[in-house]
Symmetry: C2
């Protein structure tokens, strides 16, 4: 995990009296390396099972409550975790319908502005005040195509 991320996470946790322990550091590092959202089981495997699942889930919960991680469900029954946008940067997801792989992608500035504007207009049309948007692009990855 990059040192600046580690420092930011540590500071964020300290703000509520929490600690960036070795276990939590490894969880954040695993997600920093991942390149996309990952399930608890995937993180657990990546860490070579050196953390009990219950502790891993507790770390994930603490990190999510602290705003370090964000989670959502994909198509499967397991929750997927990723670094929050303020750490990872704004991005979207490519979902391979063949192998289930999910990958982060960033839009170039112009495309992002277009999307942002479009989302704001659509929301306003239904009486919503838009604050964010998420795009999932489904298709076949290079290996499955």
């Amino acid at each position: 995990m990059q040192p600046q991320i580690e420092a930011e996470v540590s500071e964020r946790l300290r703000g509520t009296g929490l600690r960036l322990t070795p276990g939590r550091r490894r969880v954040v590092a695993a997600l920093t390396d991942a390149g996309g959202p990952r399930t608890a089981a995937e993180i657990h495997a990546h860490l070579r099972r050196r953390i009990p699942l219950s502790s891993l889930y507790r770390s994930l919960a603490v990190l999510e409550e602290s705003g370090v991680l964000a989670s959502h469900h994909g198509s499967g029954p397991q929750r997927k975790y990723e670094l929050a946008e303020w750490l990872r940067g704004h991005h979207h997801h490519l979902v391979c319908l063949g192998c289930g792989r999910i990958e982060d992608v960033e839009l170039d500035d112009q495309a992002e502005r277009t999307l942002h504007g479009l989302a704001g207009e659509v929301a306003a049309g239904s009486g919503y005040a838009a604050s964010g948007h998420r795009l999932e692009i489904e298709g076949l990855c290079g290996g499955c195509g």
Copy 2:
């Protein structure tokens, strides 16, 4: 549920030797009325609990396997079901961060073309062949804003 939807669903089920039973019809009707994706528990409540949960889940599974429904997870732990696009039409979702409400929205043709093109380009840039896209717009609804 609109008669044409009922007929299409019935025919789709018959194609694999399945039946559109009263229970299944009520499930489809509940989702036709809903205006957005709903969890099994929400559908169950809407049907006044007149169907055991296990039967409801079985109906949902059959309807999804037959391509009548699609399901995905949102931010919560429960799966959400909605009519498949060939019945409901292509659309996106507005998510209220205040009350959790999720609503369908349709883009106008131009916006949809823009989004479609953008998704295709982004996917190609990562070696993916795009076949679909899903946009979730987060914000505050009229009541929560």
